[in-house]
Symmetry: C2
Subunit: 124 residues, 2 copies
DNA sequence: AAATCATGCTACATTATTTGTAGCAGCATT
DNA sequence: AATGCTGCTACAAATAATGTAGCATGATTT
């Protein structure tokens, strides 16, 4: 899989717009999950594998290469860690954690924010 | 592909944590792109296909099913549109647009992140 | 020095997902 | 009844993810 460099054609988009490169990146399995798990501090390859619930080494290594190239992570003596860019990105993403819990709770209860449509039982 | 319902085992995670379901969802090709493109207003299936740069109808339909089930979008007479949940989610994601432009520019220049710097209008 | 261990990582076959093209069925207008 | 929309499905080919095994390197222990 080619690395979604902003300014180039990426998976699903030919425009080269930075947001499209970023959406391609975070639309790859475990890309955000890796950044998410690096929040708790630097980790070795194998430690990171465990934090990511036994992600396969092949995939982990592919993502690490991409994230390194895009300067979202870096490797130091302590292991892999978020770079300055990576920290900024994860900071933006952070509110998803709380939001997802609210969303999950309300989905389960069948309640809904105003104007939302009720799910049919058969769709659950 | 099974739908990443919070509380269930999802692609890459067995914990059932809502954030993992959400990361699975947005880790699927075009899932965020579809929400992103629905910001500019409701769209018919084919209009949406065009906004998403000729995404294949198979994939578009799969994503729409998932997003509908998870109540992030809904279909009305005007076409597909963001639900209340979808709007909330995209609001959280929105800052990625500006950030990605700063990131792209600095990557290209080989410079480092500038935490305090405010982007000029012309740079957005 | 040899054996053991932990590390980052690659090889590779299997399975799952995405892509791209063609086209169907339903409805409205001409 | 022909045309032109619509939402969508079928299906084969291409691409990506998974899971297991294990290699090569360096540090530590015997």
């Amino acid at each position: 899989m080619t690395i979604p460099l902003p300014g180039t054609q990426v998976r699903g988009s030919k425009t080269g717009k930075p947001i499209m490169a970023l959406l391609d990146l975070i639309g790859r399995t475990w890309a955000l999950g890796i950044l998410w798990n690096l929040q708790q501090g630097p980790a070795t390859f194998r430690e990171l594998q465990q934090r990511c619930e036994q992600i396969s080494p092949t995939l982990l290594n592919n993502r690490l290469k991409e994230l390194k190239t895009l300067q979202l992570i870096e490797m130091q003596s302590a292991g892999y860690q978020l770079s300055a860019y990576g920290s900024e990105l994860i900071t933006i993403i952070l509110p998803l954690g709380g939001w997802s819990q609210k969303w999950a709770k309300e989905l389960k209860q069948g309640s809904q924010p105003m104007h939302a449509k009720q799910l049919k039982e058969s769709e659950l």
